[in-house]
Amino acid sequence: MIIWAIARTTVGDALRKKILQVFIVVAIGLIVLSLSFSQTLSFSSQRGASSDFMLLKSFGLGMMALAGIFISLILGVTLIPQEFERRTIYTILAKPVKRYEFITGKFLGAILTLGIATGLMGITFILTIVIKAIGAQQLSASPTLGQMLGSTTEKVAIFDWNMVWGVILVYLQFMVLSSIVLLFSLIFTQTVNFFMGAAVYAVGFMSTVVISLGGAEGANVALQLFYKTISYVLPRFDQFNIPNQLLHPETQVTNMGAYTGMMALYGLLYTLLALVAAILIFERKEV
């Protein structure tokens, strides 16, 4: 109950933050605006409906990820230090609230906030694609109209479940990033934490490059080990992205359910790890 109460308060606080509201509104606005892209970017419409959808999905997912990463960083960075600055931590911990309950509650609040933001963006994203698909189907039903408008008459599915998987995977990476930033917030200052969190995300996102660097010609054993360690220790944010499957429906997926399940487990374990480490640190912190 205590954890839930802290989480609810955290969600309320977070949603009142102007900067988070701006990020969500801008991201949603841009996702909606992307509907006009296929009409303005001639290269897309020349290549058929599937290319239009590829562009829309790619842009939508990209916007969600970008906004979500910033929200995760800003939220995570301020989550605990803010309580110290306001000195509210002293009154909270003076009550019968255990430290792990406080940390867990704060974190739960953060991921709930991210869930709300991702949900709003995700619904907008899926609706945008559905609207576009309905439009494309109408054109497909009326080839003459399609030709008049210079558009394709290629048939497209109205709803693709892979979009939902895509949104879930995007959310999972926000959760992992938030837990890391929360952990860092107990060690570093807010500014350092922001950049450390961003760096972890960037390196994790480009882990294929990190692996390549380890295997590059001329790399010695120590370097190879260094890059390999980094690629295995830092979260593999790149693997939360399945754009090829989502953007290219012709790609055959052999076991999408198993993969998503595995990624969810991976994300949860990583989150749990960061959370336990944060609890251990916070237990020893002088307050």
Partner: protein
């Protein structure tokens, strides 16, 4: 928190780390499997080579570390190359050049990769449908780097000459290359253009029959070497890697250009000029002996009416045919009268090469009746296929088309090759979706890979060639080739 609980949490942390690493090991192959679904990374049906560019690289490019990211991507491309995942390289190459448009190596390697590395399994033939994209990519590179020789030369030599057999365009781009020096990528300082670029321009001009301009170019190339030698005397190394051998190389090639005009067309003035230049070269011994022998031949011909070796007609007797050996397997075979050993008897070029004399002097069982090694060329394509306009940059390649070409070794006056399009792994390269196809089989002395001794007998442009059925003088105005064309229906092939 009690000590016991803390220890338990620390143990949990260790267990979690182990679990995460284990999952990570398991995830890697699953990720590859799901994202690429058993296909080569980057391969897709649409032919849009940019479609699967990994998103993280696009995001990273906005961080401002453009060259760093470009370098990292290039390493990644190299890794894909060594793994044989050629389709994956293309989008990376594109990305690298967007990030770092002055990276010459990426343009040259990327375009070479497109031209040469998408090879079928059954015949080791490269996929010619990517050539327009390759050329467009090189042209983009030239637009981004217009003031250095490198990409002009590469486009002319590797793509137009070697791949498209288009010597006119090759000569144009290599001539353009000769207008520019290079820039050291490390220091940004101007660097001397390598001498081989200037020599190659002369060779190319010779190939397209611009003999006067070729001769002029040999003079330019030689002068450049002389200046470099002089610069090296003043300040060692300032003129680059040139020595007497480089100078002799220019003289040897220059003299051969003139001598061949003498031998092939009976131009005695050129013959004499060629000998004078050839006599400047004092090594190797074989060269000196050959030159002395040619001098005697020249003197023996003074005052005699003689129109050159290529003035004597040679009946090509070209015959080519095709048959379907199996579904999607074509066999091309034929005969061509190029070139019986006896045709070299008494040629002026013999004074220099002594090939016929040496053949006659050999033991009877070692004597050959044919001078082998010439080439016959073939091309199979959709009947209405035209190479797309390569001036407009596009990575989109229409993979619905079928177009392939190659060459066949001629031995003993006959040739034979099999075009196997039946391997399922090659299905994408040979879609065979058109109803009609054009199969062209031809021989042309000027094509790359044709030995000099063929031109010694029939002339640079095939002037000596005659053939009652297969002579073609219209395909390339001014040139004579032996050509046979067939129209095939889809059912003839599949």
């Amino acid at each position: 928190m009690t000590d016991g609980k803390r220890k338990m949490l620390v143990a949990l942390v260790v267990a979690l780390v182990a679990a995460i690493v284990l999952i990570q090991f398991d995830l890697e192959p699953k990720y590859e499997k799901i994202v690429h679904a058993g296909k080569q990374i980057g391969e897709n049906k649409s032919g849009d080579m940019m479609a699967e560019l990994p998103g993280q690289f696009i995001v990273a490019s906005f961080t401002g570390f453009k060259q760093v990211v470009a370098g990292a991507l290039w390493i990644r491309a190299d890794e894909f190359f060594h793994r044989g995942q050629y389709h994956a390289i293309v989008p990376l190459v594109r990305m690298v050049t967007w990030l770092d448009p002055h990276n010459i190596d990426v343009y040259t390697t990327g375009a070479w990769h497109l031209d040469y590395n998408f090879v079928d399994v059954a015949n080791s033939l490269s996929d010619k449908r990517y050539i327009p994209a390759s050329i467009a990519f090189m042209k983009e590179g030239i637009r981004n780097n217009p003031n250095i020789w490198d990409l002009y030369f590469e486009l002319g030599w590797t793509h137009y000459h070697k791949k498209l057999w288009d010597n006119e365009m090759a000569a144009y781009y290599i001539s353009e290359a000769c207008k520019y020096d290079s820039v050291d990528p490390n220091s940004g300082t101007k660097q001397r253009r390598p001498d081989f670029v200037d020599r190659m321009k002369a060779h190319m001009l010779e190939k397209i029959g611009k003999f006067d301009e070729a001769e002029q170019q040999w003079n330019v190339a030689r002068k450049k070497v002389e200046e470099a030698l002089a610069a090296n005397l003043k300040k060692p190394g300032s003129g680059g890697w040139v020595d007497q051998g480089t100078l002799d190389l220019c003289d040897r090639n220059h003299s051969l250009l003139l001598l061949r005009q003498g031998w092939r067309y009976g131009d005695m003035k050129r013959y004499e000029q060629g000998l004078k230049i050839a006599e400047r070269v004092k090594t190797p011994e074989d060269w000196v002996e050959a030159t002395q022998s040619a001098r005697k031949d020249y003197e023996s011909r003074i005052g005699r009416h003689w129109e050159g070796d290529a003035s004597k007609p040679l009946d090509g007797k070209f015959n080519a045919s095709w048959l379907r050996a199996a579904p999607r397997v074509l066999v091309i075979k034929g005969t061509v009268n190029i070139i019986p050993a006896s045709e070299y008897k008494g040629l002026a070029s013999e004074s220099f090469t002594h090939w016929y004399a040496q053949n006659q002097a050999a033991e009877p069982e070692q004597q050959v009746r044919w001078r082998d090694g010439s080439r016959v060329y073939w091309r199979l394509q959709d009947i209405d296929y035209e190479m797309p306009d390569v001036d407009k940059f596009s990575w989109n390649t229409n993979l619905e088309n079928t177009v392939a070409w190659g060459d066949i070794y001629v031995g003993g006056g006959s040739f034979l090759t099999k075009i196997n399009m039946s391997d399922p792994r090659d299905a994408a390269m040979y879609p065979l979706k058109a109803e009609k196809y054009k199969l062209t089989v031809w021989m042309e002395p000027v094509d790359p890979g044709m030995p000099d001794y063929v031109e010694d007998r029939v002339g640079w442009k095939g002037e000596a060639l005659i053939d009652s059925e297969c002579l073609d003088t219209t395909t390339r105005p001014g040139y004579r080739m032996l050509k046979k064309e067939f129209i095939l229906s889809r059912s003839d092939i599949i």
